[in-house]
Every structure is written in C-alpha cells, then in structure tokens.
Chain length 441, copies 2
Amino acid sequence: MTVTETPLAEVAAALRAGEHDPVAYAGRLCDRVDERDPEIRAFYEECDRRGRVQSAAEGVADSYDPDGRPPLFGVPVGVKDIVHVDGFTTRAGSALPPELFGGDGAPEAAVVERLREAGAVVLGKTVTTEFAGFAPGLTRNPHNTDHTPGGSSSGSAAAVAAGMTPLALGTQTGGSVVRPAAFCGIVGFKPSFDRVPTDGVLTRSASVDHVGLFTQDVAGARLAASALCDGWERAGGPGDRSGDTGGRPTLGVPEGPYLDRADPEGLAAFREQVAALADAGYEVVRARPFEAYERVDRQHLDLTTGEVAREHEAWFAEYEPFYRTTTAETIREGLSVSDERLAGTRAGRERTRERVHGRMDAAGVDLWVCPAAPGPAPGSIATTGDSVMNRPWTYAGLPAVTVPAGRVDGLPVGLQCVGRFGSDERLLARVAGLADALGTV
Amino acid sequence: MTVTETPLAEVAAALRAGEHDPVAYAGRLCDRVDERDPEIRAFYEECDRRGRVQSAAEGVADSYDPDGRPPLFGVPVGVKDIVHVDGFTTRAGSALPPELFGGDGAPEAAVVERLREAGAVVLGKTVTTEFAGFAPGLTRNPHNTDHTPGGSSSGSAAAVAAGMTPLALGTQTGGSVVRPAAFCGIVGFKPSFDRVPTDGVLTRSASVDHVGLFTQDVAGARLAASALCDGWERAGGPGDRSGDTGGRPTLGVPEGPYLDRADPEGLAAFREQVAALADAGYEVVRARPFEAYERVDRQHLDLTTGEVAREHEAWFAEYEPFYRTTTAETIREGLSVSDERLAGTRAGRERTRERVHGRMDAAGVDLWVCPAAPGPAPGSIATTGDSVMNRPWTYAGLPAVTVPAGRVDGLPVGLQCVGRFGSDERLLARVAGLADALGTV
C-alpha cells in the first residue's frame, strides 16, 4: 500500500549511473501523484505539475556530464509549503494574504538552493498545518486514511510514505519532522540546530526552528543530509565530542517523567524495541536525560508560543478573522509570555543541551533511544498528534532521527534516536545499524 | 477602472441576435479574468478556465436555432462557491474536508440548472467568506483594493464590478448580496424568500437563506430574475397585493431607530439621494417600518446564529481546528440559542412581514428606500462590513435591491429599495426609474 518506489539512495545511484532517466523517473512519480494524491492530499494542487517537473528534470539532465553528476541528480523532492521555492506562492496552510509572506517575489530558501545545487528537482509544495502549528491540513495517513499523518510537515511525510517522492523537506519546532515520519512509517531526520540554514523558511519560532527531511530509509537520510547540512563529514562531524570511533553505540533509555508521557501501548512497543536491540547485542543503560523535565518542557512551550506570538502579532492585529481557532489560541497564549521569560527560555537551550551531554558522559550513553511519539497516529485528521516525546530534544537542539520500529494496532511506530549536538554524521551512521537490528527497514 | 464590459441585458440581446459570438465573448471575459483577477481575486484559481468555458459556450451555441435562443444564451456567470456546480468541488471558503459538503458527487443546485436552461455558461466559482459568514476571503474591492468588496458574496460582487462577468450569483442570510453590491457600485437583488430554490446551496440558516444575483444595472437584474425566480411575470407577480398599476411609486423613508444605525456620512448621502428623488417628482413619506426594530434585529441574530450552529454542530465537534476564529465564535454563540427561542424567531418572520405590510398600507408606502449599508466599504479586507441595514428586511423575507447611488469618500454607496413580499417583478420595474432619477446607472 505504501512505499512502492525505490528508496532515495538507490534511485539516486541509478540516476547518477544513467540507469534511470531523470525525465522518465519524474514522469513516473507524477503518475503516482495523480494516482494516490486525490486520496492522500500530500501535495497542493497544481495545474501542470508534469510539464513543469519534466522540464526541470530535462534541465538537470542537460547540465551535467555523466561523470560529474551531483549526489541528488534528477531526484524529485517535495517541499513543505512554508519554504520559499521559486515559481510557487508560499501559503503556509493559511488563509491570510500570501503577499504577507513575501508573495511571488520572496527569495528562494537557502535549503532549496542546496537541493538544486545537488541536482534535485522540486516535485511540488507539500501540505503544512497552518503556519506549521496545530491547525491541520487535509493530508491523510497512507497507512490508514482515517488517521492523521502527523504534523506539521504532514504532506512531506505522507508523500514519502505513499511512494510519491523519495525525498521531502519539512521543519520541526516541536516534533514536526520526527512525529509525522513515525506515524507514516518512514525515516525523519532533524539535524542539530542551525546545521541547515532557515533563510527563506517562514519563521515560526526562530530559536527552535529546524529544517529536516523525510526518506524511506536511513541510507537516504544520510545522502540527503550530506547535501543539505553545513560541513557534512563522512565520519564524526566537527561538533562531535563523543570520542568513540563509530563502533556499536551504548544506548540510553530515558528514566524519569519524560517516558511516562508515552501511551501505554506506545511504551510497550518501545520496551519490545529495546529488548530486540539488547538481543542484537547493543548495550542498554538507563539514565535520566533531563534534570527537571517538566521545566524543560515548559521552557520549550513558552519559548515557542512566545516567539510565534511575536512573529504574528502585527498580522494577527490586522487579520485575526483569517486565522484558524487553534492558531489564534497559540498566539493569544504566547502574547502573555513576557520578554524576560522569553530571554530566559532562550538561554535555557544551551544549558539544557550541556546538561544532557553531561548525563551522557556520566552514564556512558552514546545515543538516546525513545518513542518518536506517544503511540501510533490518532484516528482523526483533526489532530496531528502530540509532540511531547520530541520537544525537549528539539529545545536542546540535538540531532534526532526516527526509524520505523514495527506496528501498534496496525499502524507504524518509530524509534527516536537522539545524539550529541553536532554529531549528526555519527548519529545517522549508528542508526543505520539500529534499523537493521529492528528488522523494519 | 471598473465595469468596462457591456451590461447583461444588452450583451444578452446581442448574443441572442447573433451580434456577439458566445465563444469569442467567453474568451474575452477569460482575458479580463486573467488581467484583473490576480489583483481582485474574485474567482478561485482554475487550471483551464478558458478551455472549459469556451467548450461550454460552444455547447450552448450549438444547442439552439437562431430564433429559439433562451434569455441568457451564451452569458457567462460567476457562481458563489457555496452553490454546487457540476465539475467543481464546493469548498465554501473553508479548510474543512470538502467531502463533508457532498464532494464532487453533490447534485447541481436547482438555480444553476435554471441558469443552464436559460443558456448561461459557468465562468467560475467566486470567492465566499467561510460558510457565507464573517471570516473573509481574499477578494478586494475593484474601486479601491485596500477596501473590502463586502461579503459574504465577495467574489460575485467584485467580479461583476470589475467587468469580469455580466452576471453572478450570491446568497443572502443577513446582507450578503445587497451590501457587497453597494460596496462595489453595482446592482444586487435579493428576491422574496423562497422565490428562488435553495436546493444544492450549502445551508447557512435555512429559514433566512436567499439566493440572489449581481448585475451592472437594473435591466440586467430583471432579465436574470426572470430566468431564476419561480413564476416570474412581466408586471406584478402573483404575490403582489399593492394594488397600484405600476405608476410612479410612493417612497417610504424609515423612521425610528433602524436608520440611526447608518454612519453619519452614509446617512448624509442617503438624505441627498432622497432629496434627488423628491426633486425628480417622487412622493416621499416618512414612516416607521418596524414596531420594535431592536427586537426584530435580535430575532434575526438568534435565528441565524442558532441555525448556523445546528447546521455545523456535528462538524464542529469533529473538526473544530479547521474553523476560522469568527466562524467558531458564531457557532459557539448559536449553540446557546434554545430550541424554543429558535421556534419563536422562526414564527416571527411572517409576523414581521405582515406588520411591515401593514405599515405600508397605513402610510401609503409602495416601497421603502434606505441605505444599503451603514456607509461605504471599510478600508480593510479583514472585515466585510456590517449587514445591519439589511437584516430586518431579510428576516421578513421581503424583496430588496440596491442600486448605485453616488459616492462617499470616493467609494460607491447604494440605495436599498424594499418591496412587498412576492412583488419582485414590480419592485425591479419601479427601481429602474429610481436608478434613472439618481443618474448613476
């Protein structure tokens, strides 16, 4: 039912090797969009997607010699519609006048320029919740269309899961990459804070906004991350201070109130995943990542709602009737967060990050494993689920990736793996092994 | 700047006479939509408007002998997007799943069938506020794009005013035809309650919903009304009990608190209009149309919010995050209106109607004249203005028409003329003379 197309790394290799023709491949994905998207609604409707995409693919095909093809040569990609892309009007899932977001003249996002430099082709803009918040779009979960695909990068996750594209971009301010990837049974990677530039991405909360990506498997995430992240190195990034040499990592299972926020069935699945990893030979230690979890979560909430409210304050004053109910509530809440509190929560990010690193040092944890969401995707498209399992890591700016980890009630769940700040390269290298051990990718 | 195309009655005559070619004419209007609508946003975007419209025009052209052409032969028409039209998905200005409104399989509205029987061609769906309520779309007033075109039939009014179509359909539950027509400087006609069937029109408040229409002048409104209203007669409809023979009517200027709801500048313009009509030889009497105006207005408010809330109750429970703030407020308010109160306000409609008729009899009023809106269009697209001048007449189900009546602060204002229930034919016949006397049409 889902993911019938070849995963990114394989298809990119075939395109580079000339085994796939970029124009024909783009056409095949357009066929799949035509076939699946009337039900899934991962992409915004477009008049001549096929003509535009195939012409872009031709342009890429003509631009490189066979031996000089870039890593994403001819790879179609879905881009969340809070990211400016030349030729598209950014609407951000909102009814507000799109001129407010820069209109058709907004400069293309830096991350899209990186995609283009890597040879990728924009397949289309994907559905986002309103301003990447909590008011959903119409995207449905490809595994069961009565369920949410998660959010806020709803369309990007669903598009990859339904095999409509091998790669899609999303953003995460709470859990907007990791959660939808888990709900849709794919890989979602949120790099370390500021590892991918957010220029040209509509700001939600500048102190916590991350650009992330969706692929079918870890190999694809590594390929895409290498093209999108600043200064990507094959082993151990510049910020990697873990000191280990990339051998089998010691896994940290969080202790304390954080894990209690998972649903019982999500928690049971997580326990089984951990048992499977231990059986596969991974050392597992239990340790407490957050000294004061509730305070950290509260800091994230105040920081993000406070910044969202300030970002929208002027627009909200002028255009309130254009906002959806849940977004209006967030803005009203955020306006009550004081400037002093906001400054404090900003400063708390690095302190939290250092403390998590300290706990990892003390307990010998190489990476944390935890549920990617409290449970599987809720059975409604009126909610995108809860980002509670993602927020403290996002607040600390740590790199996080979810890998498919089985099913609960017939729906996918993911294992969220979190590394040290800046160790994105090593995190993905290690997680490939975990995914193999879980036997789901 | 506005209304550069030929008005409906003239263009329809030319089309019937073979002086205009329906396909070429449709193409010219598509040109005008291409030219004006990126700024005005009266129509929802469409991939192949021109191909679809010209093919429909060809179908109409081929269907009739030159001497058997129907009244709206080859006339393109804009249709408010709460009215089901075959080949279009009704979205009602809402982010909710369109399947809820019947999806692509919803039977075409009866009024659209009447349009087609009369030879008209659908030019496109026009922008509506969310569920024809108070959460606006992105349409701008063609006379000054910083101003609202009014609502809820925003796109239909703006499309006619910008010369993109000679005819458009709207609906009115408060003032959603008369007000936007006045703001846009055109004619808006809301027939007597139930004179045009509402089957296939998304219900807002079934006891007060009316289908209405927009044209450049009164002659066009008469032509369109003759094709759309039940049992249209050339002079004095079946419900016309005024007894006069169609001579120059006696005009009633409302006394009492109703008129105090107009803005000072709107009221001053209205006084000048009345003076001009008196100068032109019309007899003007002052009389009080409503025994208890505030009570009538409250009854309308409770009836409409109560019915809107019941219409949306189940959807709202399931899909609240898809609703815009103002619509959610209306629904929450309406849920507090009791069933008993609702029944009372329904019963009050005919009583109010009979009382207004009684006042007309007593004072010798043939038709009421009053402002179509409190003043000109507000200088924002975040509000659609106030329906206060329209609501009591709408509640009573009386036919109402606005004709252009000069400008205030450079923006159009309209004179609202209200007749007896069922006397739609006579109202339009008489209003043509008033418009001539005002010298604005």
